[in-house]
């Protein structure tokens, strides 16, 4: 018998606390697989955010640091500047990365910090129970947009990859999804590349992963995947927004 699929060794044995069907777990696994495949577990340092993935430090088998809400890229900068040989990554939600952490995200990007950022966009604040996120879609009901997000009042969602792609320091920005096995495979490729870029000292790499929050969306796990496909992907098109290895025309 050959093992086609097994738990990556960069994941600890700890059972993840995520809700049933929450795709945070899938992305954790992809990150762990990338670490395994690149053989960098011993020199990887992960930064956990504040958000549902706050306990990421319990799940990744490398050295881990828990950052303050939104500040993971700043913490990562400190780590990377102190230990340039380590492979430093952050794992952050949309509230963390695109709201409170906007400045840290934009500036680590424009500085071209040689780090890897895994950005989980689930259109909601999961951890705190379903408030509006910067990425919440127009019309989406959340506990702080109970009548549906109105761009006139609550503003427009923010597309981080598109925005960050305008910055010179960004080596690579891609948006992926995990709604189907095929997309999971593509997400894996993107995450691998984002880590490989760092090993090759190419600069700032970010992979935005469209992810589900069945609990706060009030949907079953399977319905949540469909909702993601039907609502998020049209608003947040998948694709490569920047890749210094490629020419403009080659992208997406």
């Amino acid at each position: 018998m050959s093992v086609v699929f097994d738990r990556p060794s960069a994941l600890t044995d700890t059972l993840m606390h995520y809700c049933p069907g929450c795709t945070h777990g899938i992305v954790h696994r992809l990150v762990a697989e990338a670490i395994d495949e690149l053989g960098i577990l011993g020199r990887a340092i992960g930064i956990a955010p504040v958000g549902c993935s706050v306990f990421a430090y319990n799940y990744f088998n490398c050295d881990m640091i828990e950052a303050a809400h939104g500040r993971a890229p700043a913490v990562a900068t400190g780590v990377k500047r102190a230990r340039p040989d380590c492979i430093v990554f952050t794992y952050q939600g949309d509230g963390d990365l695109a709201a409170i952490g906007t400045a840290e995200t934009v500036h680590s990007a424009t500085r071209g910090e040689n780090i890897t950022i895994i950005f989980i966009n689930n259109c909601i604040y999961g951890m705190t129970g379903g408030q509006m996120a910067p990425t919440t879609l127009p019309g989406q009901v959340t506990t702080t947009s109970p009548y549906g997000r109105s761009p006139k009042i609550q503003g427009n969602p923010i597309r981080m990859c598109e925005m960050l792609a305008t910055l010179d320091g960004v080596a690579y920005a891609e948006r992926v999804s995990i709604d189907t096995p095929a997309n999971v495979r593509r997400a894996k490729k993107a995450i691998l590349k984002a880590f490989r870029n760092q090993i090759e000292e190419k600069g700032f790499s970010i992979v935005e992963v469209l992810s589900t929050c069945p609990t706060n969306w009030g949907l079953s796990p399977v319905e949540a995947l469909t909702w993601l496909r039907d609502n998020m992907i049209p608003y947040y098109p998948l694709g490569v927004y920047k890749d210094i290895d490629k020419k403009e025309g080659d992208m997406k």
Partner: protein, 70 residues
Amino acid sequence: MNKVTIDTERCKGCGLCANACPKGIITLNGKTLNSQGYHPAEVTEQEKCIACAMCALMCPHVVIRVERDV
């Protein structure tokens, strides 16, 4: 025969595996409750499994192991 092993004690019964399985051979066992309080997933007809690992790819809690008969 290909083999899919689900760690049912750690399964959270989300059904993403079942949803992904092209052979439709995974179901959530409505009868059993594991110690976490979930109805875990179960492979009903192992022999039909093609070891495509779609189930494992989608499992958020990484509790599925897939082996191919070689």
